[in-house]
Amino acid sequence: MKIDNTKAQMRKGILEYCILGILDSSDAYASDIIAKLKEAKLIVVEGTLYPLLTRLKNAGLLEYRWEESTSGPPRKYYSLSDTGRSFQAELKMTWEELQEAVKIITTTPTES
């Protein structure tokens, strides 16, 4: 088992939650989302994100609208749909539970 592989799997698992999280605070277009994710070192290359966004959009979690751009072609502005919002809230709870669980397991010494 390669450590890189495991890391990538972990990142991938929370990637959807992170995207929903970014869009929860404000609408954004793809480049914004990418920039934020890159900053947080959650993704390395942009290409990965486009299939993911399309999939979330097709699943009804995201909506988008076109906006003119000063540089280049018009951009897709993504926002959360109602379903996406409740989905995000649910994921948030799960995430917090998971975080707590991981914290308990990894910090409390196991009694023998």
Binding site: K12, V44, G47, Y50, P51, N58, G72, P73, K76
Partner: protein, 560 residues
């Protein structure tokens, strides 16, 4: 001055120089291939194209340029990442599709790991086993039945060769995707590079141009020779495999026969000569119980040791645990093979020597009467064995009987006893030791399917050829029990021996005539000849009369 190519990306026109265009086109094709098959793939591609347009615009603005260069393309590909990375993501979500990809294995011949046609390695790839197992299976089929050869040729013709990278991947059941194709192409390229490198190393030694030229010519010639000899070697190895398998098959049967017979392992009667089965006390009948028998036994064991060891080693290797003392086993097995073969050849030669000279003794029995009922029921006959050893006798079932016209007035049975031996006197002595009882009670003439010789006489090709001479006017009924006894009896109806039994026959001047056969063509040559003569005479008369009439007609016409 450089040429530029215009492209339209998400509704914006970009000028690309040639290098940039080539690189970008290649990248975009890869992206499309990776995403096209996915759900919503077209949309994703459009998004990515839009993003690329954005990135290009940014770069042009930043560096105050008009034309996209290769650096910009590299920047874009680095930013977006390689298409296989997109697909890694997709693989998880559309796992159904990928799974079906994975399961779609196809049978190809494998040109990369072939000994003859790559059939075995192709099958191995298909079933995901080691090629050694498939080869062993083919060899076993070859050696034991010969089916292996035919199967191989058919499979060779029927299964296509995996030529393209995609086919090679399908052969191994790996999904045909970008990363896999790239991987296997890289592997192939590495192989080529390595070979090329070796070639360069070889030609490095000669520094000057002429030397280089000669070394190149030399290398070319060596390569050609290698190819030719490689082909010849392959060709001969195929032929050798065929010949070897035939010989191996025969040897195996023979050795098994010798083993089984030398130890009297019963139950297998598969050696047949002339339809008769040689019993497994054949060795006793042929070899007696002297030194030769011992030599045969030891020789057989020693000879069999080698292939058995070989098979064990092969299986061990296939199982991933090669035998530690492989070379020693090879040497031991090889030596024992040849020593054993020498033993067998020596003993075989000794035996063959006692078959060298043939001799014939004759005996005649006069029979009474002119009506016979021929039977072969005098002694109880065990079915189908050429040899059978009793307590002190050797029964040999090699008797044939034919019927011919006698020129005497009495019926006689003439028997030729044939035998072989070391010398003429030896053979003659053996030929005189036949015991073949004949009994005549009234019309019934009882013979037998086999004769016996003393056990010590051993089997030396003894055979008994009997001829029953019948004078004209005698009648004979052929009892069905003589079916295996009679051989090639001539008769006027040209009937086969098998058809003749169960009928009564009369010896006439022209040969044997069936008296109670139905629906046989009855040729009476004398009658036919008479009929032909009559016909000819009447024809001649007709013709003469016609001629006379015509002459008269001509005369009359002339007069008029």
């Amino acid at each position: 001055m450089n040429k530029t190519i215009n492209i339209n990306l998400a509704g914006i026109i970009f000028h690309l120089d040639e290098a940039a265009y080539d690189a970008f086109k290649k990248y975009l094709t890869q992206v499309k291939n990776a995403l096209e098959s996915q759900e919503g793939g077209a949309e994703v591609i459009a998004d990515i194209e839009a993003r690329i347009a954005e990135l290009f615009s940014m770069r042009l603005e930043e560096y105050k340029r008009e034309v996209i260069s290769i650096d910009d393309v590299t920047f874009v590909t680095d930013t977006l990442g390689s298409p296989e990375e997109f697909e890694d993501d997709a693989e998880e979500y559309s796992s159904k599709q990928t799974k079906s990809n994975k399961a779609k294995k196809r049978l190809f011949r494998n040109p990369d790991e072939k000994f003859i046609g790559g059939v075995a390695s192709g099958i191995a790839a298909y079933f995901g086993t080691d090629v050694v197992w498939i080869r062993i299976l083919f060899l076993i089929l070859l050696f034991f039945t010969g089916i292996g050869f035919i199967t191989y040729v058919i499979l060779w013709a029927a299964i296509p060769e995996a030529k393209t990278t995609a086919q090679k991947l399908q052969m191994r059941g790996e999904p045909v995707n970008l990363s896999n194709i790239e991987k296997s192409v890289k592997e192939e390229l590495d192989g080529v590079k390595e070979r090329f490198g070796r070639f360069r190393e070889e030609s490095k030694g000669t520094q000057n141009q002429i030397g280089n030229f000669f070394s190149r010519v030399g290398n070319f010639i060596i390569n050609v020779l290698e190819a030719i000899f490689g082909f010849i070697f392959k060709f001969f190895s195929v032929i050798l495999i065929i010949i070897g398998s035939v010989i191996g098959f025969v040897l195996f049967i023979a050795l098994f026969g010798v083993i089984a017979s030398t130890w009297n392992i019963g139950g297998f009667d598969f050696i047949t000569i002339d339809g008769a089965v040689i019993g497994f006390n054949a060795a006793e009948a042929v070899l007696g119980s002297g030194v030769d028998l011992t030599l045969m036994r030891v020789g057989t064991l020693l000879t069999l040791l080698f292939p058995i060891l070989g098979l064990i080693a092969l299986i061990a290797r296939a199982a991933g645990k090669p035998l530690a003392n492989g070379r020693i086993l090879n040497v031991v097995g090889g030596i024992s093979f040849f020593v054993g073969l020498a033993f067998l050849l020596y003993a075989g030669g000794q035996v063959a020597n006692t078959f060298k000279v043939g001799a014939t003794e004759m005996s005649t029995v006069e029979l009474q009467g002119n009506t016979f009922d021929l039977r072969a029921d005098l002694l109880e006959s065990p079915e189908g064995f050429l040899f059978e050893v009793d307590d002190d006798k050797l029964r040999i079932e090699n008797v044939s009987l034919t019927i011919k016209k006698s020129f005497d007035s009495t019926a006689t049975l003439v028997m030729k006893h044939r035998a072989r031996g070391k010398s003429n006197s030896d053979a003659r002595n053996r030929a005189g030791q036949f015991s073949y009882p004949i009994e005549q009670t009234g019309e019934v003439l009882s013979l037998n399917e086999y004769f016996t010789v003393p056990k010590e006489a051993l089997y030396r090709g003894q055979e008994l050829r009997a001829t029953l001479f019948l004078p004209v006017g005698t009648e004979i009924f052929l009892d069905p029990s003589i079916e295996n006894l009679i051989y090639d009896i001539e008769n006027v109806h040209n009937m086969w021996d098998g058809q003749m039994i169960g009928h009564t026959w009369a010896m006439e001047r022209r040969g044997l005539v069936c008296l109670d056969c139905e629906d046989v063509e009855y040729y009476n040559t004398e009658e036919i000849e008479e009929q032909i003569e009559e016909l000819e005479e009447s024809l001649e008369e007709d013709i003469e009369r016609k001629i006379e009439e015509l002459e008269l007609e001509i005369k009359r016409l002339k007069e008029n």
